[in-house]
Amino acid sequence: MPQLTNETEIPTFRIEVGMQPQFRDPAGQDVRHQLAEDLGVQVDDVKVINVYTVHARVTAEQMEHVRTELFTDPIIQHSAVDGAVASDYNYLIEVGFLPGVTDNVGKSSAEGIVDVLNRPFADDEAVYSSTQYAVKGPVNKEACEAFTRNLLANQLIQGWVIHSAEEIESSGSAMVRALPIVTDQSDTEVHEIDLEIGDDALMQLSSENTWALELDEMKAIQSYYRDADTKAKRAALGLPENATDIEVEILAQTWSEHCKHKIFAANVEYTDENGQVHHIDGLFKNYVKATTDEVSKKVDWLVSVFHDNAGIVKFDENYNFALKAETHNSPSALDPYGGSMTGIVGVNRDIMGAGMGCKCIFNTDVFCVASPYYEGEIPSRLLHPKRVLRGVHAGVRDGGNESGIPNVNGAIVFHDRFLGKPLVFCGTGGLIPTKVNGEPSEEKKANAGDYIVMSGGRIGKDGIHGATFSSEELHEGSPATAVQIGDPITQKKMTDFIMEARDLGLFTCITDNGAGGLSSSIGEMCRDSNGCEVHLDKCPLKYPGLAPWEIFVSEAQERMTMAVGPENLEALLALAAKREVEASEIGTFTDSGNLECFYKGERICSLSMDFLHDGVPTMELKAQLTPAEITSESIPTDVDYAEELRQVMASLNVCSKESFVRMYDHEVQAQSVLKQFQGVEADGPGDASVIRPVHGSKKGVAVACGITPKYSDLDAYWMMAAAIDETVRNLVCVGAKMGTMAGLDNFCWPDPVESAKTPDGQHKLAQLVRCCEALKEVCVAYDIPLISGKDSMKNDYKIGDTKISIPPTVLFTASSVMEDATKSISMDAKSAGDHVYVLGKTYDEMGGSEYLDLKDQLGANVPKVDVVEARSRYEALHEAMMDGLVASCHDCSDGGLGAALAETAGAGRLGMDLDITGVEQDNPLVALFSESQSRFVVTVSPEHAAAFESKMNPTHCVKLGTVTESPQMVIAHNGSELMNTSIEALNDAWKSTLNW
């Protein structure tokens, strides 16, 4: 990271702001609470003081004016310029950002000062925010240092100073932290890279520069430069024979696993469990794309799939709907807050960059982490899972809330091996008029002669090598510069501007800057025109001193790239200036067949478009399954069933996540029909969310997800089948119809390429093949086209001898366009006297179940999906719902039938009187906790019972009993009572585990 410095020429003022002593300090209270809860550190009091360090050519008088006008709330706060506000403490801790780290508060403060003083800020003037914690209590400096590191600050992005009250008194001065001004300047020269070196040296070069290129890729680049045509062309252009640094950087970004999906494109020689060898020329082509091709013959609502930033489907005559999900795992491992925030605002930009620019209408998020109550050793460079979970949640919360996009669906999944790398999935749905300025809105094109305009944030060193870094395992040398913090307000301002510019017809093509930065966005867009010319010195920088290659590959956030016709450039830039959004013309699209970059007038890069996009060698991989070592489970027989049910309800994967969801704005845009939490007290777990995205129309969108890594070790095929089936069940629960569902597949895999560090690569790749087979089979059977997806293939941790690989995981997300959202069904039991049914057969499929997990067993029998039988059930149930026969419907998933019954009753604050003999399992624990797929718990009012039963297949529609007024869960089996326990006790167990 750049170095701290003391700047002397420009005056610096410190404004400290705290709560007046007679008022509560909620932020301080929260820190005190977290210290006790997370670290076991007891202190008497914490006060939080906001510090604004203003580094600008202003007078003391002006600062005094700014203090009262801007920084101080006259009703509750007190403050001082260059004076201390804290009193009555033992230690004072101040945490601020390191140089170059996005400081949103500092940036907004500067804008506030500009308004108050009515003078602009110069480039070398800024406001830096920091936070002071005045801690009172029996702690020493070491303890303060420890909890600062473990709770208050992240050393990758923040620095801190700690002083005792005595030290401050004796020195007579307040806290002194040097200003975080970036002074560390890169060498801005362009360097040649000599590729005429041996194989080992090539690989060393790749690794030292975080290029993540394999040997045959390095050699492909080597032979490109050896080629006589290349040499002649370069000589004519005045470029050296050797590659330039920026050229290799561009190739590394473009060819990264993250951007190019090389494993999904590889030739795979797969030996199946019967020893039969299959040659698969691309998993993506043969399974993912093939699925959509097949299903597209049966559905008529696909608009744009695979080639854009998000998949687009038809919503109604006037609007199309877009959907996309992304992962942001590696950055979140290092900085959970910044990593997940950039994840959510990043996927928002995918939607904004889909077609001519969609409006974001909802977000989804799924976190996979180890237990927050993990007590073992934390390997080097990793953070405690509790800190990870709090951080990733806060990042998605702030990113989504500040952007005004409701978070409508999600999950938190716990598994020990997510300790090595947490998974952070962020999804977004969007809406766009079918036509923009009279043209189909899904079509766009950058034409030769159009200007390249970059809009949004400025470029800094943040996020350099994000794409290549996430294409490697997390290791000792993983670069801290890959970490970024999002700036949702800069993005929101840009979003408003882009929607306005779109409707005015000011651009012809748009895409977002994500992984690979400009190198990727321009590199992709210029395929339309077949070339481009970029002038890197025209790019606005956060601070001077970036090398040209850094400017081109930086993943600094909040940026979109547009193609703008010459006739519109002036109008577009004027609109941006008026809306106070950064926008710069940085070059043109050409038809030269080359991607070319210039710096201060000099050509520094010319890469053939063909080589850039098609030159990467196809990987040749081998896959062979090593059969899992499976131990049959031992299921007890004589237990306290009520206690077992309470324990299942309290288990991490089953328990309520309401406290997390409450902190998300899930209703902004006022479209909400079914929220995440439902029932009498709005605390029952909904299966899918439903919104009405067009005000005044009854048409809806339902969205749901499924994710079941717990089955991967048993069989990755059935893991995938279960994830899809769970998603579909969730959608069916709320009233979605088969044939209306569009899917997203987000693969997160441990490295499946056999190598010295991954000796079991063949097995992991075979798991991937199995998984893809299931993806195709189930999606085709359910008529679900895959409209977009993503894969993240290096989810491993390796430092020293410690290697942790995540369980193979796929997040399946699906949406359904509903004809009439006012017919949606919620999951809560409605009325005493209603009949309670379980739909679908319960098998002895305890493998991977939450129940066995509580007993520290994996078990053997993985749940399977019978797609033909399931589909007929889903269709019959949908008809019953549309006929108004269903009072409530809830999916049986984690925790099995027992959890589904308890949740249904609990959400309605009603009891149930049930007999589960009809489930046909001898061991009641199997009946209650087996996680067989394709099942539902449904309640039906007595007047509709006969009609409902005649709709459903009688062999798989079993009446278990009735809903009761008395809030007791009473369950009998084969003539004896298993339990008679209060709904309140079950609710309490379910709600207390993660009630943070």
Binding site: R24, I75, G404, K578, R662, M663, D665, V668, G696, D828
Partner: protein
């Protein structure tokens, strides 16, 4: 005659679309106007009958919620805005818009000048929360937005909704002049008594919204524009009575009817 509403947008305001829809559903003509368009031409405000400052996260709530937006509005549109309210026009601030209004001093507007008398600060829980609340109108309030309203529900979605008056005298003045228009309450309309979650943020006297002494300028933390359809309510699937329009629409209709009656 058509009732014209200016719905402010920009810099992190994010509820302008649904606020516009709410006014349209209530019979008004509504236009979203970016703050930079208004600061460029403040007098344009006089073409409108109603000003709405919607919810959102202006400037990311940085420094303090609503503060930077409030300063900008006061510095650049202040005079026009004061004339607008002196002309007897209507204004509403919802959530972030309410925070903007109290911080620029357009509420409670005891005198004819912008002075900050109250504040909205961090919830006692120090958390952003999204939950539905019950709201009871103060029977003595002249608030024109709450005509014929007694007890309604709406969602709150904020991290800084804790209402604190300058001092006891200010509170008393607010209470005595009917400026305390809306309070958080229990489901049966009884006082929340400061208890979470009925009072979701710790507001003094359970205050959820205040108006100026004329009742024409109104600000509240909950989001009535997010309860325009019955299906917005969290338990509409349980209650057949929750059909058709949502309870929040009444507020917007009251304003439109008031202007029409003038």
């Amino acid at each position: 005659m058509s009732v014209k509403t200016l719905v402010l947008a920009g810099f992190g305001i994010n509820c302008e679309q649904e606020t516009k829809v709410a006014f349209e559903r209530a019979g008004a003509e509504a236009t979203c106007v970016h703050l930079t368009d208004l600061t460029e031409n403040p007098e344009a405000i006089h073409a409108y009958d109603i000003l709405a400052i919607p919810g959102g996260f202006s400037y990311g709530d940085d420094v303090a919620s609503g503060k930077i937006f409030a300063n900008r509005l006061r510095h650049k549109v202040g005079d026009a805005l004061l004339k607008f309210v002196q002309d007897g026009k209507l204004a509403i601030g919802i959530c972030n818009g309410f925070q903007v209004m109290v911080k620029m001093g357009i509420l409670p507007l005891f005198e004819n000048e912008f002075t900050q008398e109250v504040t909205l600060t961090h919830n006692d829980s120090d958390r952003f929360e999204n939950r539905w609340v019950h709201l009871k109108k103060d029977a003595d309030s002249p608030c024109v937005w709450l005509k014929d309203v007694d007890l309604i529900e709406s969602p709150i979605r904020h991290g800084e909704g804790n209402f604190i008056p300058r001092d006891d005298a200010t509170l008393k003045k607010l209470q005595d002049s009917g400026c305390v228009a809306l309070r958080y309450a229990n489901a049966d309309g009884s006082s929340a008594g400061g208890e979470f979650p009925a009072n979701p943020n710790g507001s003094v006297d359970d205050i959820a919204g205040i108006c100026d002494p004329s009742g024409r300028i109104f600000g509240l933390m909950p989001h009535p524009e997010a309860f325009i359809e019955a299906t917005n309510h969290p338990s509409w699937t349980r209650n057949g009575a929750l059909a058709g329009e949502g309870q929040g629409l009444q507020l917007f209709r009251n304003a439109v009817e008031f202007v029409k009656a003038q």
